[in-house]
């Protein structure tokens, strides 16, 4: 079996794919491959048997994640007893931990939101909260929130992939009574203490990197930096992995031996006990476990004089981690960490053919980036082709300077007085600032992302086949041949990117952004992407829009559709629930033009933002025809300046996908009356109900006159205004109009081909 363990690991991966995609094609292909190798005397009986066994075993072991409500097991009593099975994650905004219910054996996420006015360390209020403690909690578990928009992060599904079915929000920490703790609690406590100590003794900037790179806590790192790293596929630097573990082992070993503290033999034993401890101290993420278990295995193999190939070690660690925690297979970090390491191990022969270290680094960067392309696109919808070059520059900086520096600084922080620590601190900050701003400036000039909505599994398989053949030809130095395959997988990615431009299907989507409007029209063959309003949530204290809707609804939706250019945004009127997300869109995406009514008052901030980002601003006059990407919009209102912003809303008429549509903004009864007087023959198929279904509009006479078949209502669930009002619903029901509303149906999408189309509710 030695040298063949990767077959067992591939078998486990196949059972995971089978469960994940609910398809037996993977098994079929895998078995064919195995039996061919066996038939052709390439694979022995033992590895064949073990692979098949592994496949069966892991098919039973790996849990399937079905997002249906089969978990809706009810909690009858308002008190649940059980055990805390995770570290207590406590910040100023939130405290949470995972709790295993004794009775139902299901896992819950217990959440507590501290009082914003009087922030207090939650663990001081209730110090009995400890890893492994047995507790009784008063409260009613509920199902976590599901996503209501395409592309949006699905919190319920996310928790399910961690084996957590319910969430329990406690009002007060007094509702939790705990006793006892487990051994792990002490380790996590010392981790928290270490993090706190670092924060206290050095500048926030250095502390952020020290905590992230040594202790696996990146919460102090600036959000923009995290985002920047994610965008450029540099996140792996922030995740503690082989590099970090290798460095700390080398450093410790060196110190133990050079200071004559231990013999080599004993130093190895020290490492064997130290590694699992470090994995816990470093936060216990899958990449940390992968790296430390691998190093641990290498030391043990060396001690016992057992020989295994590197692929074997990686494969056995892979199998062990899944056996230990079956939900780990759904962890993105786990998937990325193993796939990259696998690629790098396969490439060792290819790496060894070049001597210059720079070329080797470039090769490593290339293999790591190309191995994850399908995952990167599937999870983040974005691929930066130039990230290979950026990694080439940045990775050596971190691995040769920052990471060793941070480990040494950690030791210094523990051993020496603050004075010396500060000295190192002062040295690091300016250097690191320069590098981070270098990345930022590269981001400024070389930002040519490919926004690719999704990566279908079929395309992913083709991609990997082409890439594997490409690499094997490269290894055999058949360069011309390899070049052809390189072109082939590049073309595959380009095809994925231009998919929407070839698709005859168009959509009109009413996004569920809570109380407010955001409609996206995507014309067939990507001739145009047009927004009708783009609202935001805002705080009533300062009336400033937040980027929550943009970040959680609009941007994920657009990315999932492969969109980062918008041809036009129509803004009905100046209210934040209609325009609040526009500043974020203008800054981050490419917006070609904004179309507003004659009476829309542009604020100074808007004028500045729009000009700064080269957005064309157009005024739409009454009666005008406006064309965007070949789509005609007719302006039916405002005819003249009215008293309020709502009354000055744009009313637009357009024909899309065989239906006529009327977008009404927040107009009121008077404008509706004017509309039917001015256009007595107006009739529409789809009406965007004005003002979120408020009773200030949608008069029965208006509905009767225009005779819509569908009414779209965009209103927040349980909103404070009581939208949509029973009167409006009554009016629409009487007129036998099909009502589609975001508060009940989530996002609503009309998908059409030529003149035929259907409405789909996102929440069925």
């Amino acid at each position: 079996m030695k040298g063949y363990w990767h077959f067992a690991a591939i078998a486990a991966t196949m059972s995971m794919l089978t469960i994940l995609f609910d398809s037996y094609w993977f098994v079929a292909g895998f078995f064919l491959w195995l039996f061919y190798l066996y038939y052709d005397d390439r694979l022995g009986k033992v590895p064949l048997f073990i692979s098949l066994t592994c496949f069966l075993l892991f098919s039973l072991h790996i849990p399937s994640i079905t997002a249906d409500d089969s978990h809706t097991q009810t909690f009858t009593s308002s008190q649940i007893a059980g055990e805390i099975v995770s570290p207590i994650d406590s910040t100023e905004q939130k405290l949470d931990f995972v709790f295993a219910d004794e009775q139902s054996k299901s896992k819950l996420l217990v959440v507590y939101f501290p009082d914003e006015e009087a922030p207090q360390n939650a663990l001081e209020i209730n110090p009995s909260l400890k890893y492994g403690a047995s507790c009784v909690i008063a409260g009613q578990p509920e199902l976590p929130e599901k996503h209501t928009n395409p592309g949006q992060f699905d919190y319920r599904h996310f928790l399910l992939t961690k084996g957590i079915t319910h969430q329990l929000i406690v009002d007060s920490l007094d509702d939790i009574t705990c006793t006892g703790s487990s051994f792990l609690h002490r380790i996590y406590k010392s981790r928290t203490a270490l993090i706190a100590r670092v924060e206290k003794s050095i500048s926030k900037e250095t502390a952020a990197w020290l905590n992230a790179l040594v202790l696996g806590d990146d919460s102090l790192i600036d959000d923009n930096t995290v985002e920047l790293f994610q965008k450029w596929s540099l996140s792996h630097i922030l995740a503690i992995s082989g590099l970090h573990v290798g460095l700390i082992v080398a450093l410790m070993y060196f110190i133990l031996i050079k200071l004559n503290l231990f013999t080599k033999e004993k130093a190895q034993w020290v490492m064997i006990f130290f590694l699992p401890f470090y994995a816990l101290i470093a936060g216990g993420e899958p990449s940390v476990w992968r790296a430390s278990t691998m190093v641990l295995m290498f030391i043990i193999l060396n001690k016992t004089r057992m020989n295994l190939s590197v692929t074997d070690t990686l494969s056995i660690v892979f199998l062990l981690l899944i056996l230990f925690d079956k939900y780990i297979v759904y962890h993105i970090g786990f998937q990325l960490s193993f796939i990259v390491t696998f690629g790098l191990i396969l490439s060792r022969k290819w790496f060894s053919t070049t001597k210059p270290p720079l070329i080797q680094v470039l090769k490593i960067s290339f293999v790591s980036q190309m191995m994850i392309v399908p995952l990167q696109i599937a999870y983040f919808s974005i691929f930066q082709p130039l990230s290979i070059l950026l990694n080439f520059i940045i990775v050596p900086y971190f691995s040769l300077f920052v990471i060793p520096f941070m480990f040494i600084l950690m030791l210094i922080t523990i051993v020496f007085p603050v004075m010396i620590t500060r000295l190192f601190d002062r040295l690091f900050v300016p250097i690191n600032d320069t590098v981070i701003s270098l990345i930022e400036s590269i981001d400024g000039v070389a930002d040519y992302p490919m926004i690719i909505g999704s990566f279908p599994i079929g395309a992913a398989i083709i991609y990997y086949v082409l890439f594997f053949v490409f690499m094997s030809l490269l290894q055999k130095e058949k360069l011309l041949h390899a070049f052809k395959y390189g072109c082939a997988f590049s073309i595959l990615i380009i095809c994925l990117a231009i998919r929407p431009y070839l698709s005859p299907t168009g959509t009109v989507t009413m996004l569920d952004m809570g109380q407010g409007d955001a409609f996206v029209i995507e014309l067939p063959y990507r001739k145009g992407v047009i927004f009708m309003d783009a609202g935001a949530r805002f705080s009533f204290q300062d009336m400033e829009p937040t980027d929550v809707v943009y970040k959680q609804v609009i941007k994920p939706y657009l990315y999932s559709r492969g969109i980062n250019k918008i041809d036009a945004i129509f803004l009905s009127h100046e209210d934040l629930d209609h325009i609040g997300s526009v500043p974020f869109m203008v800054n981050e995406l490419k917006v070609a033009q904004i179309i507003i009514s004659d009476y829309y008052e542009i604020s100074d901030q808007e004028a500045f933002d729009w000009q700064e980002n080269n957005v064309k601003v157009e005024r739409a006059a009454f009666g005008e025809q406006i064309e965007v990407g070949g789509q005609q919009f007719q302006v039916l209102s405002p005819m003249e300046k009215r008293a309020t912003e709502n009354e000055n809303s744009l009313i637009l008429y357009t024909a899309i996908g065989g239906k006529s549509w009327l977008f009404t903004g927040d107009v009121s009864l008077n404008e509706e009356k004017d509309l039917i007087e001015t256009f007595p023959h107006l009739s529409v198929d789809v009406l965007k109900v004005a003002h979120h279904g408020s009773n200030t509009s949608t008069d029965p006479s208006f509905v009767e006159h225009i005779k819509p078949a569908f009414a779209l209502i965009s209103a927040g669930e349980n909103n404070m205004y009581g939208h949509p009002t029973p009167e409006v619903i009554g009016t629409l029901d009487t007129a036998a109009v099909t009502i589609l509303r975001t508060d009940e149906d989530g996002a609503v999408q009309y998908r059409f081909n030529h003149d035929e189309g259907t409405f789909y509710k996102f929440v069925p």
Binding site: G3, H6, R42, I345, S347, K349, W350, S472, L474
Partner: protein
């Protein structure tokens, strides 16, 4: 699986080339395999000896004595370096029969490529040992090699006992009398199989005997070009 030569464990290393198409299990470890020397570069098209010229000096001599040259060409795989000499000694003279399987894969692959033009219309004939010698060694190394190959193999020849080839000088070898006897005539092409091609005399003796009894064409396939 352990290395047939040094007995160290062989652990295959997986790389891009063999991840899909797993390499067949090797009988020699990477290090020992590296000591085998493949004949590479331009070689004599007649006898496989490494040579800049298309036909080497030896074979020019054979061309001049066309009446004694009964072989179309010989193809060999390895050079007879000292490692190979050690291996052959252990395999052939000290009776390590299994060590011969170390050559199986190369033999099979090279043969399939070089003799594909015969389209399987040929017979393999191993160079025989005399009865005494066979009793002494326990197996015929040429027959063992022939059995690795994908064509039917028939022992058409027998050998009269004589002095060991390796104990003779070059001239003595070239001028020996034909030591073979044919047991059956054959009208198909024949590929003679042996372990080493040194002067080519032995193979040519066998070849002329076959040809004299109606065999249309004789080729030779040998493991080593001495």
């Amino acid at each position: 699986m352990n290395c047939l030569w040094c007995d160290r464990q062989i652990i295959p290393e997986i790389n891009w080339e063999n991840i899909f198409m797993l390499a067949k299990p090797k009988s020699l470890c990477g290090e020992c395999e590296g000591k085998l020397e493949y004949l590479q570069g331009s070689r004599c098209k007649k006898c496989s000896r490494l040579s800049e010229e298309a036909v080497c000096l030896d074979c020019k001599w054979w061309n001049e004595h066309a009446e004694r040259d009964s072989i179309a060409f010989n193809y060999s795989i390895f050079n007879y370096n000292s490692f190979m000499q050690d291996m052959i000694a252990k395999w052939k003279y000290r009776g390590d029969y299994v060590l011969g399987t170390a050559f199986k894969l190369d033999l099979f692959q090279v043969f399939s490529k070089r003799f594909a033009f015969l389209k399987n219309e040929a017979l393999l004939v191993p160079i025989p040992l005399s009865e005494e010698r066979l009793r002494e060694r326990g197996f015929n190394q040429a027959k063992m090699l022939a059995e690795f190959l994908p064509l039917p193999c028939e022992e058409l020849l027998t050998r009269i006992h004589g002095e060991k080839q390796s104990k003779k000088t070059r001239t003595a070898r070239i001028s020996t009398n034909n030591p073979f006897k044919l047991t059956k005539t054959v009208n198909k092409s024949v590929i003679l199989v042996d372990d080493i091609y040194t002067t080519g005399t032995t193979l040519r003796h066998a070849g002329s005997l076959l040809k004299a009894h109606g065999c249309p064409e004789v080729y030779a396939f040998t493991l080593i070009r001495g």
